[in-house]
Symmetry: C2
């Protein structure tokens, strides 16, 4: 059904359409690529490809453009992640090297991705639940007001102020701090709450209530849905190259970018790092974004996936290039996290 040459034709169509943004015809194809056959032959192949649903015509007597299915085949079979140039690799390294803390890493990554791909970049903060605890600190601000500071292995710092129901003693807090740390340091945050739940029992009767309140606050901070919804976006200005069809393609995207929940759905779950996920057009889990594609991958120290990053753009995007950039940035950030 689809012999080698037809696949070549599809690949050529995708490449040309992506770079010119215009429907590509049979004649232009044979001129720009060494297909070794005549336009007429290409036309026959195109007819087959169209029957199979890989390409389509915007209108009769126009060239062909790839369908979502066409892009899918292209991404799956017809291309491999092309290695970045040395200059690009160096740019990534030097740009991310200067980061001073996690916030900085995340923000620099978005900028970098946006610049490399000329698209909208999205970077999710490392998941709290999947990180491990590096340190927990309980700070007394007054005898009825505590500050809970939680530091994860990725360098993420979460804090929360607790107003206590009744005053608490200095020594109790000191003891709690020590016990809390031995109980949860090194543990995954998802387990931390259960590890700490027995702690109140170890205190004097009078203090159990307060301690329980603090533990509860900690548990809440950890399981707070919002904490895993933290994402940063960048490169919105690149939307202008999207085309003119304003209301149908740009507006919904801008709206989606404001809704962090939607964004996270877009990035989706990624099973293993070093595996770049591509969602094309209708595969994107958001009706309004049917002309949009997402290229994403996971990152995290070692083989863990603590969060996701990627780019969003029109279906007619440079998939090999975007995949390469997303992959490279994810790898580099992972490395940074592993070192820290």
């Amino acid at each position: 059904m689809l012999d080698e040459r037809k696949l070549d034709v599809l690949r050529a169509i995708v490449e040309d359409y992506v770079s010119t943004q215009e429907p590509v015809g049979s004649k232009a194809l044979v001129e720009r690529h060494q297909l070794g056959v005549s336009p007429a032959t290409v036309r026959n192949d195109m007819a087959t490809l169209e029957e199979e649903g890989f390409i389509t015509q915007p209108h009769t007597s126009a060239g062909r453009i790839p369908t979502d299915k066409g892009y899918r085949l292209f991404v799956d079979k017809l291309t491999s992640i092309k290695p970045l140039s040395g200059a690009e690799k160096r740019a990534i390294a030097t740009f991310l090297q200067g980061a001073v803390d996690l916030d900085d890493v995340v923000h620099r990554s978005v900028r970098l991705l946006a610049q490399l791909t000329q698209q909208v970049a999205i970077v999710q903060y490392p998941s709290l639940a999947r990180s491990t605890v590096r340190h927990v600190e309980v700070v007394m601000m007054s005898n009825t007001r505590l500050l809970l500071v939680l530091i994860t292995s990725t360098g993420r710092v979460e804090q929360r102020v607790i107003e206590l129901a009744k005053p608490v003693d200095d020594e109790v807090v000191g003891e709690l701090r020590a016990r809390l740390n031995t109980a949860v340091v090194g543990q995954h945050l998802s387990d931390a709450a259960s590890r700490a739940v027995g702690l109140p029992e170890m205190f004097h009767q009078d203090d159990k209530g307060v301690v329980a309140q603090i533990i509860a606050a900690l548990a809440e901070a950890v399981t707070d849905d919002r904490s895993d919804e933290k994402v940063v976006i960048g490169g919105t200005a690149n939307l202008v190259r999207f085309g003119e069809d304003f209301d149908r393609s740009i507006k919904p995207l801008l709206e989606a970018l404001e809704e962090h929940v939607v964004l996270l759905k877009l990035l989706g779950e990624v099973s293993s790092p070093s595996l770049v996920t591509v969602r094309i057009g209708h595969e994107v889990p958001h009706e309004q974004l049917a002309t949009t594609s997402v290229v994403a991958t996971g990152y995290g120290p070692g083989e863990q996936v603590l969060a996701t990053l990627g780019v969003v753009g029109p279906t007619r995007m440079d998939y090999p290039g975007s995949m390469a950039a997303v992959n490279a940035v994810a790898r580099y950030v992972s490395q940074l996290l592993a070192e820290a």
Copy 2:
């Protein structure tokens, strides 16, 4: 030169143009407003207004649109901040009431502003330098690694990890913590560094170096330029109503929104709260945004101005409405900060 009626005409032109987005002619004006005169008379007035530079014609045989100068006069003389409806006030209150911490307040404020004005909203975090210190904490994560946590009166929490040149003792840290707090709590952050600079002298010779390093890190964290550049934006999707002139009005704005430095320049310095600043078209300190206006005001507990918030939109925006919304949100946030 400009009698009462001519001003009425200008006001009517601004109002109509803002609501219809189309050049307004003499006939339409008398129909929609009770001016009590004939179109011909209005035409004469318009001719005068045009001579004076308050309105202009996009092309001959079209209606008039206000110039920047026209909007300026409108804002300064022809309108007052219109009070919000009870429903709007209640919406602000209930929406901001639920905020759990400063981050939350800031993020909710942007959303709220964007929704109320149907424009792009910008909220700056309370300035560190102008806040006072509520608490400083020094946490030992290991004997060569400290975490510095700084809490301001506005509830803003800054943290920084310090890698020490040589190991430090538990007791030294404890002493430093105590001395640091007595030295800087209640002080303005801009003064904090100078208050702390003498502290190393109070320690044993062997510890002076380490203490000095910590103080230096604290000083750096406080004076870090980036810390005052923290802003949050929202309502980007509202840009779609901007009009079709994509490249000339939307692209530069999107680009500006990515540059926090530019944004802060846009918001500008505000002398006193309860004073709403309006910058129209060319008054905006950014060449590319000549068709854009900014409505901003300061906020902070009491009479202090700790930061700025506002909206950005096309020059043809609803000034009275935006000014009212910006003012109301700023007041409410200020109140929240004063209570905390």
